[in-house]
Amino acid sequence: SAVISQKPSRDICQRGTSLTIQCQVDSQVTMMFWYRQQPGQSLTLIATANQGSEATYESGFVIDKFPISRPNLTFSTLTVSNMSPEDSSIYLCSVAPGQGYGYTFGSGTRLTVV
């Protein structure tokens, strides 16, 4: 299965600033997914990122707040923009394997906005 390197693992940021989270995969993958996990909650999909096209955002998430880049088949970034304390969460990237296989997740970025 794929191996994902996600960084930073954690950060404490000031209100109003932006943070960019990176995910590097050790193999080429078509789709990458970005999830948010708020404290004590399950995972909520933010967007799906395909190489060479605009990311597809889920209801409640917008590109201006969570811009995503997918410059090639092994790399993606998620930026959390103009942060507020409500953005404090764990952010996770994930890749989809072929049909019938489990998904692989990065280790997550724990973001605290103060």
């Binding site: 399950s42 995972l43 997740f105």
Partner: protein, 112 residues
């Protein structure tokens, strides 16, 4: 609207017993149902996948059942150990979509 529910937020069992976790879904036609383990501060780790046309899947001490009529999956850990203590998440994927939709998770504690 689509909904995925896992039986309880927390489940405590004695070491050596079988843990049974439940995942129920509504307004969904999943092609695959998956179970993941998540430890504190870590991303989910894939455990087992079962397809809509499969009734049961096993892997070592783990067993998953899938009843599309009841819209339910059961996840069993036999001969449980304290190291099995973690949060377990079920996740569904429909045939057309590639993304997973997750349940709320069940925190399992195996007591020595």
């Amino acid at each position: 609207s689509q909904k995925i529910e896992q039986n309880s937020e927390a489940l405590n069992i004695q070491e050596g017993k079988t843990a049974t976790l439940t995942c129920n879904y509504t307004n969904y036609s999943p092609a695959y149902l998956q179970w993941y383990r998540q430890d504190p501060g870590r991303g989910p780790v894939f455990l087992l996948l079962i397809r809509e046309n499969e009734k049961e899947k096993r892997k070592e001490r783990l067993k998953v059942t899938f009843d599309t009529t009841l819209k339910q999956s059961l996840f069993h850990i036999t001969a449980s150990q304290p190291a099995d203590s973690a949060t377990y998440l079920c996740a569904l994927r429909s045939g057309s979509a590639r993304q997973l939709t997750f349940g709320s998770g069940t925190q399992l504690t195996v007591l020595p």
